[in-house]
């Protein structure tokens, strides 16, 4: 199996108030190239630390993080790892550097010393990939949150990464903005074959993932397909996460004696399950 990222027995410690805390503990995770992985966890579960460990922004206290065969501890690969593993953060405003969209998207490639003509090409392509090409000359300040976040994503794609890590990219957006971002991420994964690691606490966003990893207290407590994870409502609630209302509904039905499966996410699937349960009763 071709793993783009390998986190091997990593512990990350930081000092606060003279006390040593560990944000992640003896943590191991391998991410397959081209996959779409969602990491779920409440605030303080260590998921953001993990994101920063993956692209070398943080260095492990113990253990190793290997990106495409390169150890993040090796200073020689510092920039190359950041190019290959792009990061998108929560607040779009704090990621955009220039006051013209195209100049912002060009920032990454410019740092890499790419030829001007090639940068121009990449900027246009990246903006098209996130459906923001019509705003090429706009000012980020005049765009909506979802649009700004898509510009931030374009800025990452312009560096032609193999993998994108998104750290709660939708937390500050309205429902429309959230949909825009999730659709953009899916498109990049499916069409450009970019490995996606999406960190979030919105369960619905995990619906289309290949794999869902649930984190709590710096460790993995579940790692499976979205359906499997969703059906374990009790486990999710025990770590402070909530489930989509569809799952919630079926879970409650089951508790009330209905014979329904709880591994559903979409509205259609939920209707299927309820219909089936009611028909069974009739027989």
């Amino acid at each position: 199996m071709d793993n783009i990222i390998e986190v091997k027995n990593v512990t990350y410690e930081y000092v606060d108030d003279n006390l040593t805390h560990s944000a992640v503990k003896d943590f191991s995770l391998a991410v397959e190239r081209g996959s779409f992985t969602v990491i779920l966890g409440h605030n303080g579960s260590g998921k953001s630390t993990l994101a920063k460990l993956i692209n070398g922004l943080y260095k492990p206290t113990k253990g190793d993080v290997i990106v495409d065969g390169m150890n993040t501890k090796d200073e020689l690969y510092e920039t190359e790892i950041k190019r290959r593993v792009g990061m998108v953060f929560q607040n779009p405003d704090n990621q955009l550097i220039a006051s013209i969209v195209e100049e912002d998207v060009a920032f990454g490639p410019e740092n890499l010393g790419i030829e001007p003509d090639e940068i121009r090409k990449r900027v246009d392509e990246s903006l098209k990939a996130v459906d923001m090409y019509e705003f090429v000359k706009s000012t980020p300040h005049h765009l909506s949150g979802g649009q700004k976040q898509r510009i931030a994503i374009a800025g990452i794609i312009a560096m032609q990464p193999d993998c994108i890590v998104l750290d709660e990219p939708t937390a500050m957006l309205d429902p429309k903005g959230r949909k825009e971002i999730i659709n953009t991420i899916l498109k990049l994964n499916r069409e450009k074959n970019i490995t996606v690691i999406l960190i979030t606490h919105y369960m619905e966003e995990a619906e289309n993932a290949d794999r869902v990893v649930v984190m709590n207290d710096g460790a993995i407590i579940a790692d499976s397909t979205p359906k499997r994870i969703f059906s374990d409502v009790e486990m999710l609630k025990s770590v402070g996460l909530d489930v989509p209302q569809t799952t919630e509904l079926l879970y409650s039905l089951k508790k009330n004696g209905f014979d329904v499966s709880t591994d559903v996410i979409s509205i259609k699937e939920a209707a299927d399950a309820i219909e089936k349960a009611l028909h069974l009763e009739e027989k």
């Binding site: 950041k82 990061m87 060009a106 740092n111 000012t139």
Partner: protein, 268 residues
């Protein structure tokens, strides 16, 4: 609304002046300013004025916008006028107490105020026709010879700072407005009371603003690092400034104008 304030005052009209390379525009601005002050007689200064009004006309930016900038410095203009009025030689027109207004003083006052007004007009013409980003980039380029004296990092850092300032001023202005509203909603009184009280009333606004700026800076620094930023070394730029025919012709016009000013200065 406060959030729509943008730094700089770019006005899009697509004129030929807009299309002149920003570097050329800055250099021509300096040249023209020098010649506004070299214009030493009525003919040459009126010619300079004519030239500058032609530029204003061609720029396609409404004159009212230029007038707005002039209005902002009107007090300075008036003071200059009045002071110069009394500093002339020649025949006294009106005298009172120890002061007298002479024809020389009148001329002088007229020259000086006109020069300042022209200075404002021509500088406004630059800021109205050039985006702040282009200006930043042009300044970086124009200062680039400093790298031969070991200042390349300083030049790059200055340009990067200007870029970030341009980007964050509207954000911080908007944030200030939000924080002010939030504190007003908690009953803060920002409008009344003595000066001391009003200064004290700013604390609930300044502290959150400071904290928020630090947060912006910290997160921005991380985001820049993630986008492979390691300083100015080895960076390229997407936008290449290329000189075109427009730059050549506009420079010719400007130089021609300056020559005429010199000629007028000599002849009269």
């Amino acid at each position: 609304m406060l959030k729509d304030i943008t730094f700089g005052q770019y006005y899009e009209s697509g004129s030929v002046i807009h299309r002149i390379d920003a570097r050329v525009k800055i250099l021509l601005l300096i040249l023209i300013i020098v010649f506004i002050f070299i214009s030493s007689n009525l003919f040459s200064i009126l010619f300079s004025a004519l030239g500058i009004f032609t530029i204003i006309l061609v720029s396609g930016v409404p004159f009212s916008l230029y007038a707005k900038n002039l209005k902002a410095i009107l007090p300075i203009l008036l003071i200059t006028f009045v002071i110069n009025l009394f500093y002339g030689e020649g025949e006294a027109l009106i005298s009172f107490w120890k002061l007298s207004i002479t024809t020389g003083g009148l001329y002088r006052a007229f020259y000086m105020s006109l020069r300042i007004a022209l200075l404002i007009f021509i500088s406004s013409a630059l800021t109205y026709t050039t985006t702040p980003n282009d200006l930043t980039y042009a300044i970086e380029k124009l200062l680039s010879p400093l790298k031969y004296v070991g200042l390349q990092n300083a030049v790059h850092t200055l340009a990067m700072m200007m870029t970030i300032v341009l980007r964050f001023i509207p954000i911080l202005v908007e944030e200030t407005q939000k924080i002010m509203n939030a504190q007003k909603a908690r009953g803060a009184d920002l409008e009344n009371g003595s000066l001391m009280r009003r200064i004290k009333a700013l604390i609930p606004i300044l502290i959150p603003l400071l904290i928020s700026s630090i947060r912006h800076a910290y997160e921005l620094a991380e985001a820049m690092e993630c986008r492979c930023y390691t300083g100015g070394e080895g960076r390229t730029r997407m936008k290449q400034m290329r000189l075109t025919k427009i730059d050549f012709y506009s420079s010719c016009f400007a130089v021609l104008g300056c020559l005429i000013v010199i000629l007028l200065n000599i002849i009269f």
